[in-house]
Symmetry: C2
Subunit: 242 residues, 2 copies
């Protein structure tokens, strides 16, 4: 029997949810992965949200995060880490939000305040099809263009971005999840400029790269570009110091 059918028999914990903030980089800007919720109550109702859902009574938080992401987007094996828990008593006080939840999960009792544990992952944005489940219309939205989201998801996205900056400062290797397997120095510099919100001198940046043991130069170069071809680098996570 398929896992999603089996899950119908699992008991939902109506007090705790997980939400997944997936931040992506396409070479130009940072984006966040959003989904559409089904069963929209009326047209004045915000239908865009982070991928997230109530957890089951018998699952770990980390497990729940992976399951929910997979169910809503088809993405599997995405390494996510918890970064903050949101539990203000009025965070689920919008009656449209609670009605939607009660219908979705066929809940008998009205939902009270829900505590949500927010997870974060950094991914490259892939032009190729990366989602295997389009039922919830997963799509990347540039973080600068995120306006209204369901629940307190806009706040969650903003706090995720602050967290990314702090982690990057602690250890720049944190950011390499956002880059493709092979990348150019310019792609890397653009990313760092976005995250640190400043510019970096090109020459000094090259010097900095050459001092990062976990960034290794490849022999390969770009092809088909109308200018000098850039060298590719790769990230070697085994060379990150602890």
């Amino acid at each position: 029997m398929r896992q999603d059918i089996l899950n119908c028999y699992r008991k939902v914990n109506p007090h705790v949810s997980v939400d997944c903030v997936l931040i992506g980089f396409d070479g130009e800007q940072l984006s966040v992965l959003l989904v559409k919720r089904q069963g929209v109550v009326d047209k004045d109702f915000c239908d865009t949200k982070l991928p997230g859902s109530l957890i089951y009574m018998d699952e770990d938080l980390d497990e729940a995060a992976s399951r929910v992401l997979s169910e809503l987007t088809g993405l599997k094996n995405v390494r996510m880490d918890q970064f903050k828990t949101f539990g203000d008593k009025d965070r689920t006080s919008n009656p449209k939000d609670t009605l939607w939840l009660e219908r979705l999960h066929s809940l008998k009792a009205p939902v009270d305040r829900i505590i949500t544990v927010a997870y974060l992952s950094l991914l490259k944005v892939d032009k190729k099809a990366m989602f295997t489940n389009y039922k919830y219309a997963p799509c990347w939205k540039p973080v600068s263009e995120v306006d209204r989201l369901a629940f307190d998801h806009k706040q969650i996205v903003q706090e995720a971005l602050v967290y990314v900056r702090n982690q990057a400062e602690l250890n720049p290797s944190f950011l390499f999840g956002l880059l493709p397997r092979k990348f150019t120095a310019t792609q890397m510099r653009k990313l760092f400029e976005l995250v640190y919100d400043r510019t970096f001198d090109v020459r000094n940046f090259h010097k900095r790269i050459s001092q990062m043991p976990y960034v290794v130069a490849l022999d390969e170069r770009e092809t088909g570009v109308p200018h000098r071809a850039a060298r590719y680098y790769k990230f070697d996570k085994n060379k990150v110091a602890k």
Copy 2:
């Protein structure tokens, strides 16, 4: 009517708790604040734990953390910040732990897994009486001597210490909560050596202090010491750069 009596009428959320990790420094070592739980089931039962408890249905997480700390220790106006949420499905699977909880809160249904949001605060350890409620025997225990604790509280303490080190690296001013209002350069150096787990050259450390805008030298000096009296410094949080 007293607040604790009013609270009897509030409904407990049996799925979510808060735990407070208070780290203290007495000039020598880092300690953590622990309490004894009442209603111990048998003598083989670990009665030492972090101050923490289930939240009420109608309170914010931050509110709950302050309330619980105050109820268990009498400490008020302690600024705490959430640092991680613990929710493994087996974290409340010890029958002695769950029985204790059910009795304590007069719960009708058996408790399932509880998600706990852990809060952190850094305090100086004060020799003078700082607790106004000794019912739960609050006391400071050196972190090196913490062995068995109830639930997964030992793991929570360990993760709190990692978090402290990371925050200190991001911004050393994070550590000043651990120092008294006025402190000597040596006290400060001892603290930094503990947290960073290394030694610092005395002269270089003085130079470093003089470059921290948020550490200001006072005219005052130690008195009654059997050696040259040390200068006092104070921490000025308004001078911390964001």
